[in-house]
Amino acid sequence: MSQQSPVQFQLSASSTFSELAELSPLTVGSSEVLGFLKKLSEKLLRSPEFKPFPEIIALGFWLRDSQVRIWLDMLAKESEGAIIKPVGCVVHYTPNNVDSMFMYSWVCSLLVGNNNIVRLGSADSQAKSLLLEVLTSLFKQAEFSAIAQRNMFIQFDKQSSLNKDLALFADARMLWGGDESVRAIREFSTKPRCRDISFADRYSATIIDVDDNEPALLDKTAQLLWHDTKAHNQLACSSPRVIYWMGSETSLLAFSQRLNAIAQKSDSSEQRKTGQSRCNEHLVVAQLLQMQGIAGRSLINERVCVLSMPSVSAEAMAQHSGDGLFYAVKINSVEALRSQLPDSVQTLTYWGVAKDQLLKLLAEPSIQGVDRCVSLGKALSFTPEWDGYRLFTLLTRHINLD
């Protein structure tokens, strides 16, 4: 960090990577960390300044003490008969599209005792600044000095040689940000035993079977889908972009109109203003795919755009620009998904579909996609089992004693 400062932000009681990496890690579920997380959660849930930021409140709730203890119990059960220790120093490259993602990545690693260097994305947002302010104030407290020394949040130029330095200290890396970022970061050589946990470009889908003779149910379904979509402008990997619709064209049209109405209502006047170009962006995608013979007709293009297509293709997904765009595919049975779930599908949310049918489907060896299957409305709820990885397990060493 001696160069003519490529660093835009740095928070740690350690001043260099090496100083931090040389400190021996804390233990799994240490009392310092539990105390710290408890305090953090309370702050996020109770300070009035966070009220306007649902993602911060959600984070505060997510890391509440009772939840943290459940995770620790889970981990203990899983590793019965072994000693579990942190891997050492974990380097996180966190994504830009979800403001609070860096916290989830970090908390998972902190809880199991690792030292962490969290490279923050370049995008600035109010939510992110507020979170960093909270961390800054907590790091100053004497009771958390061990944590402040062992953890660093840093933001620096993409091109900086700090990337290269950083790689050398990593015992594990959490690489968020999609194919290209993952490839770029992996160019920097690491210790031979460094574990990379990589999050590639993926998209999510939902399967819905709802009786369109029940307006209240249709409404509820649309509410839940919008809940999974609105945050982060549908750009979180787990937000559904594809709707598999078990029903008629008419019912899909009715649903699309409900969804549009709900989405419209949920926008503040400020949000409406910034959405001025959305409809045109969606028109461009829709007409491009229609001209290429990939998409059928557009069921609606207002606050949301629902574009029907016979099946989902990589070309269609490549054009998806988020912000309330849904590719709708009509299917007659759950079975029809057998050929539609490539490995690029991350989360499949479901609604009105029998669980045993889904289980049967997902167990098929030919289906390579879907690492999460949760009911509609829960697409964005982060869990330490994510994207097919058990993060606590991957961020710890298991020492077996016979």
Binding site: Y93, N96, S161, W176, N233, S277, C279, L283, N301
Partner: protein, 376 residues
């Protein structure tokens, strides 16, 4: 219909003939002196024929638009193609062998250029219509012409840069064409001064793209502390205000600056685009842009594309009777404009009159992919 003498008349009319017949009769109508109702009636007929032609001859258009309704419709019922598609796809409705040239335009800087394929029919009509419109402002006499651009090479093979095509289009109205800029975009003082001396007392025509006129000519004259005197000139400029908006230069500032530094008293802005060459919307003495008989505009709400009324601001849909070789007769632009009235502009011109406000703001949504680290 058939009487005994006719033997040949039962050969059915081709779409091409049908289109050209209708276009001819539209062309007979005065450019600015036909009421909106009457103009729409004629224009819709041409556009419906164009739609049919493109459905039959452009596969991409057919996939998009074959279900569009074209019977008993009004102008505002005509659907549109998003302007960006001409950048993303190569759209043409005539066989490759009939393509004379391909017009390319970068539009917004750094983007993929639009590709507009022109055949003999479309390019001939583009010229005819452009001449007809500009004659309303310039008369029929060719005037000495100062071009605020560089003479550099804008053409390679049959690919023509839209900037060059624009200059070429206007050059038809001038003689003794003189380029005011060097290839490095500095002012060619010698050429400009010679031109001003030679035509001190004559009416002259000046043409350039809005941004270039301001940035490379007007601003350069100012910073060089020179004077240019063209008291009998008429400046025509086009190309949009986007780049000038950041410098807070609006139409009024522009005109004042031009008058102040060059003495040019008459300045006419016009709105047009590479995707619809030939149909230009000229500014009148009262500062409003006017639709000619061969083209029209519809203003659409940004949030649902519904048609807007007089006084409202929204996306501009441009409709033109000319695009035959490519499916661009009805395009939704990314420009925001305001409709100010129909048939009642103080200048006396009939039809719709409007202003163009700005480009639709581009909102960059943050993708997850720019986490970090360009490997160096």
């Amino acid at each position: 219909m058939q009487d005994d003498d006719s033997v040949e008349t039962d050969i059915p009319m081709t779409i091409e003939d049908n289109y050209l017949t209708k276009l001819e009769s539209l062309f007979e109508v005065p450019v600015y002196d036909v009421s909106q109702v009457e103009k729409e009636r004629l224009l819709v007929e041409v556009l419906a024929t164009l739609h049919q032609h493109h459905v039959e001859n452009c596969e991409s258009y057919q996939r998009l638009a074959s279900t569009w309704k074209t019977d008993n419709i009004q102008l505002s019922d005509i659907p549109f193609v998003a302007v960006r598609l001409f950048k993303l796809l190569a759209l043409k409705s005539v066989p490759e062998s009939k393509v004379l040239k391909c017009l390319t335009s970068s539009g917004t800087s750094g983007q993929v250029p639009a590709k507009i394929f022109l055949d003999a029919i479309t390019s001939r009509w583009q010229s005819k219509v452009l001449v007809r419109i500009l004659q309303q402002f310039l008369g029929k006499q060719r005037l000495p012409m100062l071009i605020i651009d560089s003479p550099g090479n804008h053409q390679s093979g049959s690919r023509v840069n839209a900037r060059f095509a624009g200059i070429q289009g206007l050059a038809m109205f001038g003689r003794d064409h003189t380029y005011a800029l060097n290839n490095d975009m500095t002012v060619d003082w010698e050429a400009v001064e010679a031109f001003c001396r030679k035509y001190e007392n004559d009416n002259v025509l000046v043409f350039g793209f809005t941004f270039m006129v301001w940035h490379y000519f007007i601003a350069a004259i100012k910073s060089a502390n020179r004077t240019v005197r063209l008291p009998n000139a008429h400046l025509f400029h086009s190309g949009g205000w986007k780049k000038l908006q950041s410098q807070s230069v609006d139409n009024h500032t522009f005109k004042a600056g031009v008058l102040n530094l060059t003495g040019i008293p008459k300045v006419t802005n016009f709105y047009g685009m590479a995707e619809q060459v030939g149909t230009v919307f000229m500014e009148c003495e009262h500062g409003f842009l006017h639709a000619p008989s061969t083209a029209d505009v519809v203003f659409r709400d940004c949030y649902d594309f519904s048609e807007l009324n007089v006084g409202q601001t929204g996306l501009i849909q441009v409709l033109s009777a000319l695009p035959y070789s490519y499916p661009g007769f009805s395009i939704l632009t990314e420009d925001l404009g305001t409709l100010h009235g129909v048939d009642d502009c103080q200048c006396g011109r009939k039809g719709k009159y409007f202003t163009v406000e700005s480009r639709l703001p581009k909102v960059e949504l943050r993708g997850c992919s720019d986490t970090a680290a360009a490997a160096s």
